[in-house]
């Protein structure tokens, strides 16, 4: 497999460190920073990154809210040195936030379906 076929040549390195993803800015299509990635949620069985927890809004460290969005909504853009997404503020504010309740344990697949359907992306677990 040539270097150009190994996707890294198009997008930089093919692998990225988790502690480098954390804190990386997320940009809207017009290049505005709309937030940053706080942490990733990893599916233990498949080893796949299922979600990114984004910090959004706030000023001088206050009032920031966290939203959990499917990882596939973010695309790494080497020219920006961050993630690009088409997510808008109104979409975020209208998104399901069931995961914010108490100590949510992510055991309800129906809730995950709801979240993926809202964002219009395929399920990371491959099934239905």
């Amino acid at each position: 497999m040539s270097m150009s076929e190994r996707t890294g040549a198009r997008t930089g390195k093919p692998l990225i460190e988790s502690d480098r993803v954390e804190g990386t800015d997320v940009y809207s299509p017009d290049g505005t920073s709309i937030g940053s990635i706080k942490r990733l949620m990893i599916d233990k069985v498949s080893g796949k990154v299922a979600y990114a927890v984004m910090g959004f809004g706030g000023f001088l460290g206050m009032g920031e809210e966290e939203y959990t969005v499917p990882w596939s909504k973010l695309d790494y853009d080497t020219s920006l040195g961050g993630y690009r997404t088409d997510i808008t503020e109104s979409q975020l504010r209208g998104s399901p936030t069931f995961y914010r309740s108490g100590d949510y344990d992510w055991s309800d697949r129906n809730r995950e379906r709801e979240l993926h359907d809202y964002w219009g992306v395929p399920f990371y677990w491959g099934g239905v």
Copy 2:
């Protein structure tokens, strides 16, 4: 899908936060802590966790070495609150360390095959 079928019931929650994985201890079969996870290496195209970078050895913060091992070599054990592995110290010391050279970019699939063959685990990219 019932709670018991959703694997989380057996191993705790089905999803784990990346910033909770970082710093988690890694235990040998006899329950001894052999190191800790420093960070994960994520494959951008598939969104899969490809490798864990383990800190091993050292004393009082000095002399610790980092080893990059396939993520599938580690199994989360809720009773330990950490990862269990069958990796031994001698296996670590004999493992390929090509990734330590300069600013290694992980663009060489042959090197990754070598690393996975050494550890005896399937390739995370599914192919050959």
